[in-house]
Symmetry: C2
Subunit: 227 residues, 2 copies
DNA sequence: ACAAAAGTGTTGAGAGTACACCCATGC
DNA sequence: GCATGGGTGTACTCTCAACACTTTTGT
């Protein structure tokens, strides 16, 4: 770290890959750019880091501006800094992944964006910048996190059934799992509380669970067998 | 990503945590700062990212300047950007971890640094900036990588014995492992080639191995039992 | 012959996997 | 009473963990 002189500096942004499960699909939130470059193209939400805020604060601010959401799972992914990744200028982007249950969210386009929309991960439009690479990286991380930690629960509402959990695992991995084994695995982790019984269904009412508090981040789980 | 205007920008540096095994200890390379702030204090090697180089190129350049080493294992860790982490100025640092076998390295202090030295991880001096946090993060990542990938082999010379490998695992985890089980585990990974026989020892000569080429990064290994 | 480290195999416990039927409710 | 998803147990396989003695070389 040599002395500060006035060298030219790169710009620093944060970009956020926000995942949610909606209509039984894994979706990503994208915004349509209102400005050049890549005007009108879809892109990950993001923006410049302000001088007085930390990177995580910047990510939270952008998240809040785009979605109204607060207190959602947020994790730094990777920092991309190829000199040519932005055609105008040197821009380094610190990327984050956010996971949410979609009822926490009310979309509203902010000032630099003309539209905000959820896209299924298998129907992603052409994206601006190196955002395809970022999204691919995020997906890998998401799957990895699902295998080894309990982040999946941050995509559910507070109370949920076993099939709610199994369903999001199946969606994220494009795979069916055996109900009995899945159940056993999740129960053996010992991270759930039993809640009451759901009443409003026209079939046998499922048990409801909630996640225990203060679960450590990495639990070393959740290797799953096929259908 | 809003439009470019001339907002003030943070400075961007890379800092590198370089690990090696020397004298049966896990060591980190530190430099003594030649400049304010924190003049004369020990710190991780690093420096500003130039406008025309990528982050990884910047890390490689710094690595090369400090150690003369080339072609060593390098991986991005995390980006730290608290507004107050540098007392002068807003500085965001992208951190990297490097792993090397110490014979690849010839230390030479570069221009902004008065001394370069290996420190045992249990004898780390007071460090400048938030470098203690960075080092702690790197150590976690190192241990994690040892458990799940074959990065350990990048801290060995090209040919090595089983006890060479076992020894670096024991050093990194502060733990003894059972020789037979360790052996079995490593052999079951199927990533080693047998080489000739070492001759220059005064006891039964061990077999030499080398790592096969093109081993995929994550191998899902290496959970190990105690002594 | 002795010192030093290398090399090697078996057994038991626990986790992972495959697999199919009855249950509780609303209509 | 029927349609819908909910809920549950067992047997087999395979991986992990614990454990000790013989071998090869140099001196």
């Amino acid at each position: 770290m040599p002395e500060k002189k006035e060298y030219p500096k790169p710009a620093v942004t944060v970009d956020i890959v926000i995942f949610s499960i909606i209509d039984k699909k894994l979706k990503v939130l994208l915004v349509r750019r209102g400005l050049e470059p890549f005007k009108n193209m879809w892109a990950l939400p993001g923006g410049f880091v302000k001088m007085e805020e930390s990177l995580e604060e910047a990510a939270k601010r952008e998240l809040h501006e785009e979605t109204g959401a607060q207190d959602i799972y947020l994790e730094q992914l990777y920092t991309f800094g190829q000199p040519d990744r932005d055609p105008r200028d040197r821009v380094i982007t610190v990327t984050y992944m956010a996971l949410t249950n979609s009822d926490k969210i009310k979309l509203h386009a902010d000032t630099d964006v003309s539209e905000v929309k959820w896209f299924s991960i298998d129907e992603i439009p052409k994206l601006a910048f190196d955002h395809p690479k970022i999204l691919e990286y995020a997906l890998k991380r998401l799957r990895w996190k699902f295998e080894y930690t309990s982040v999946a629960f941050s995509m559910l509402s507070e109370k949920f059934t076993m099939s709610d959990i199994q369903s999001i695992y199946e969606i994220v991995f494009h795979k069916k799992f055996d109900k009995r084994n899945f159940n056993k695995k999740i129960r053996s982790l010992n991270i759930l509380n039993k809640e009451s019984i759901k009443k409003d269904v026209s079939y046998r009412p499922p048990k409801l669970y909630s996640l225990k508090k203060n679960i450590p981040e990495v639990i070393e789980i959740i290797k799953l067998s096929n259908s």
